[in-house]
């Protein structure tokens, strides 16, 4: 069974009828809307954000129909699907197989994974060829930013190259040893180097008799793990950190939101920022929510009282209510922005807490 089937069932299970299929499509295809970003976090499905990158609406609807016809899900009301008992037992059966996705974090990394991978793979190719004294290889990445970056990082002396190769071998091996053989092999096969060009996802899918989506997800899971470890344990992963630290260390904000954040850190007020940046209040609110979600140090308490936050969290825990409107009805004195900030800030924690 293709991996996308249990994956979609799992997502529908966690969302439990609170969103229409179009909203779920936005999450899985990785569309950058404030709704899909906050939903991913709110429902505890951050790993799956952008899991089916590139899928079209039509393809997604066909997939839903197929899963529906397998009796794994049913249509509760128009375009709202919930998981059936069959679906539940499928999730139990497939739990082990889906284990590799624990390392996936689409919400955090989907926007930087391509740039990071390009650097890792080009650097490895260059290093590998240099180690074998082979200088006229043909680079497998052309993107100018990547090429410039790799050039600037590349060790000049042979001694240094040897040291780095040893360290990089250690870092990648360490990460791959923590995972299953298949995923590890897929990751290594994607790499290029001396006397070998990396494989395409399609080729790996054939080689391992897996569907292409599963191969892609296995690869991305490991890549995300590399990004996570090189950020959180930069001392243990100095080479990976030197390659991609500049991406992993800045919060994954949209350009516009990061400008807003910069002004906030300079103690500008919301009103001032709106004036300076000529933004509508709705846009600025989206930025605040985005910032609350992405930046742990960002405090929401200038915008909402601690007691109110606690009450919203408490209300959620009692009702498992995922929609904004009922929460707003329960707390008429709070604005939508305030509620959204709580959800953005606490969403992950709440969702993790509830599923444990």
């Amino acid at each position: 069974m293709e991996i996308c089937i249990p994956l979609v069932v799992d997502v529908l299970d966690k969302i439990n009828g609170s969103r229409k299929s179009s909203g779920i499509y936005y999450i899985l295809s990785g569309k950058k809307t404030s709704q899909s970003l906050s939903d991913s976090q709110w429902f505890g499905i951050q790993p799956y954000y952008a899991a089916l990158k590139g899928i079209t609406t039509e393809e997604f609807n066909v997939l839903l129909l197929r899963i529906n016809s397998m009796d794994l899900i049913e249509e509760q009301e128009e375009n709202v699907f919930v998981v059936t008992e069959n679906g539940q037992s499928l999730l139990l059966d497939e739990k082990k197989r889906m284990g590799f996705m624990e390392k996936l974090d689409g919400l955090k990394y989907a926007s930087i994974e391509q740039s990071c991978w390009r650097i890792i793979t080009l650097y490895t190719q260059a290093l590998s060829n240099a180690l074998y004294g082979h200088n006229d290889y043909s680079p497998i990445v052309r993107d100018r930013n990547t090429v410039d970056k790799v050039k600037s990082l590349f060790p000049r002396s042979e001694q240094k190259r040897k040291e780095i190769a040893q360290q990089l071998f250690f870092e990648i091996s360490f990460i791959l040893k923590e995972t299953d053989t298949r995923s590890a092999s897929i990751f290594v096969r994607k790499l290029s180097g001396y006397d070998r060009i990396g494989n395409t996802f399609e080729q790996l899918a054939k080689e391992w008799s897996l569907d292409k989506t599963e191969v892609t997800l296995r690869f991305r899971s490991i890549l995300h793990h590399c990004l996570r470890l090189s950020r959180d344990h930069s001392k243990q992963f100095p080479v990976l950190h030197s390659l991609i630290g500049s991406y992993t260390e800045v919060p994954a904000l949209t350009k516009s939101a990061s400008l807003t954040y910069e002004l906030l850190t300079k103690d500008k007020t919301i009103q001032e920022i709106m004036r300076i940046r000529k933004l509508k209040s709705s846009t600025l609110e989206d930025h605040l929510v985005e910032i609350a979600r992405a930046i742990p140090e960002f405090s929401i308490y200038p915008y909402i009282k601690k007691e109110d936050t606690d009450q919203v969290v408490c209300f959620y825990n009692k009702t498992k209510e995922n929609k904004l409107r009922p929460i707003k009805e329960a707390f008429p004195h709070l604005s939508y922005l305030q509620i959204r900030l709580v959800l953005a800030k606490e969403g992950g924690k709440i969702a993790t807490g509830s599923s444990a």
């Binding site: 074998y132 790499l191 395409t200």
Partner: protein, 501 residues
Amino acid sequence: MQLEAALKQIYGFDEFRPGQKEILTDLLSGQDVLGMLPTGTGKTLIYQMAAHLLKGRALIVSPLVSLMQDQVDQFKQAGFKKTIALNSFLDHGEKQHILRQLDDFQFVFVSPEIIQSKFVQEALISVEWSLFVVDEAHCISQWGHEFRPHYLDLALMKKRLGEPLCLALTATATKQVQHDIRYYLEMKQPKVHIYSVNRPNISLFVESFSDLEQKQDKAIDLINRLKGPGIVYTNTRKAAEQLVMILQERGINDVAYYHGGMDQDERLLVQKQFLHSQLSLIVCTNAFGMGINKSDIRYVIHLHTPSTIEGYVQEIGRAGRDLAPSVAILLFHLSDLEIPFHFIEHELPDETQMDFVLYPHDSLVHGTLLERLQMAGMSETGQRFMEYHLHKADVLYETHVSSDTKTALKSLLKKKIEERKKEKYHALRMIEHWIKSPECKRSALLSYFGETLGEEIDNCCSSCRAEFSRFYGKNESNKADYVAWEDELGRLLRQEVEHQA
């Protein structure tokens, strides 16, 4: 002698290929040159060496935007690091960055479209040029198979750059096209070096089928038997993918398809795998076969006929660049012509699309013609065509055009389109005729380009009863043996990996 020494020093080669030295000598003595050299005989080397020996800067106009980066890579790999490409793939910031540093580059590739921009022109004019290279120069002629209207303005550009030496290169130009190149580029008494399009080391086979299934079986049988590496050309992306699927079902694994619809990173991997002989066969559409620069390709199969003889010659020219015996096989079925017919009919803008640009809808009335053109949903060629003519008429950046001008423009465009279509149908009929004719395939090809075949050639062609079998051979089995990831990672990074017993 000096030239040979330079050749040895730069490339490590002992000898020039036919034409290279002759053209170089003329360029170095200050003569413009029109060179026609068969594909795969090292045209690039000529302008690399010329610019190097002239200690000057070369501007290279090339229509193959999607290949430019390949060319830049190849230049850099050959040691010419100061090479850059200016084309529509760059964003504004990157373009500016390059233009500000033009002085630092020795080889600058440009598309004919990008040098229409005033901004780019100003920057190009501000530095000195020793060499003005027009690659694929046949694109300047309506009679050429890949006419690019913007090529017609190159003479003007050449003047504005201070008339550097001009080198026009092509692999396939009939007499008429050769004339057009000299005329439109306003070349000054150029030395003309025409080398035969004949590639004696490539045997030519054409086989017609009345049954599509039989044709496919034949293709698969050939792929099974022929010694690789090889290329199969198809006329659609889907056909390329399907053939690969069928081959894989039959246990042929070192094969991949390659076309413009693929993810960019993955496409590059396939291309490099083929160059690196990890794949023994690549199945591709004609639009994307050109990035493949590999010297030991042993066979080219056409699963469908190309739409022009020039296109065919270019495509089979990717075989046997190492001069070893190679084979080109065209498998023809009458239905092959449907796609080119459709293409010719729909490639250039139709009436609705023209009206969309010229007679805007209320909501589009404020856009410029260029903006509307980009929204009209035309093919790339159609867009280029319209862009050129609107630019010529000085209305490309206007929002409003008088109705007289519109009427005149529209009738001009329609006339031009009809002319183009006629030429293209003619070209298609020429290759169909060549396929069906019982004549010697090689003589017939040569006579299309106004040449006669002098010598007798071994294993000439299917009409001369050459045999496939001499091109059969075993492909070395791909080393796809399973290697544990630890070992492979260790090998890549040259580490000793300890094995547990």
